[in-house]
């Protein structure tokens, strides 16, 4: 399976997927750490986290997939939701909590 197909497969077969630098326990970038904190603040205990630093093909491929040049990237039910700024903004407005509650 090529990278784009692998990404599509993963994001559509899991309710919440976060592409990030590092792991939820050890994020390697402030924005990725913030994204994890926001998901946890939404009451989400378990989600699929993909460390893009572990795979250059995924790191490049995910930017193409969403036409989005930065990491982290959040997907809910296969839909690209946004990066850390958008997650924060949606969280502040209570929208992200709602989306996640409906998805899981």
């Amino acid at each position: 399976m090529d990278t784009q197909a692998a990404i599509k497969d993963l994001v559509t077969s899991n309710p919440v997927v976060l592409y990030m630098k590092g792991s939820p326990k050890f994020p390697q970038c402030g924005f990725s750490g913030l994204a994890v904190q926001i998901l946890q603040a939404c009451g989400l205990k378990d989600f699929v986290a993909v460390d893009v630093l572990a795979d250059p093909a995924i790191r490049d491929g995910i930017k193409v997939y969403a036409n989005w040049p930065t990491i982290p990237q959040l997907y809910i039910n296969g839909e690209f939701i946004g990066g850390a700024d958008i997650m924060r903004s949606m969280y502040e407005q209570g929208e992200l909590q709602k989306l996640i509650a409906e998805a899981v």
Binding site: C29, W68, P69, F80, I81, G82, G83, D85
Partner: protein
């Protein structure tokens, strides 16, 4: 080292090149790598947040990969910016 004012010029030029100038741009950040931007443009009208941020990334083009390590941004339509009191 990339300065906040250079980044502001990049964003402005990119939007001008697309024929939809920005009404207002603020960029902060003085370490050459991490920046925070506020971008106000009529180009954002009718677009969701993802599409608005994509327009800024598009304006920056390759510079987003080559020169800019981290860019945090908030985008506003002129109306939303007015409603926000023209400040963040």
């Amino acid at each position: 080292m990339l300065s906040a004012s250079e980044l502001k010029t990049y964003i402005a030029n990119g939007f001008n090149a697309n024929g939809q100038p920005c009404e207002h741009i603020e960029v902060r950040g003085d370490d050459g790598q991490h920046f925070e931007a506020v971008v106000v443009s009529a180009a954002f009208i009718g677009k969701n947040m993802v599409q608005q941020h994509q327009l800024v990334y598009q304006a920056l083009g390759d510079k987003m990969r080559s020169e800019i390590h981290a860019l945090s941004m908030r985008t506003f339509t002129p109306e939303a910016w007015q409603n926000a009191g023209k400040r963040i």
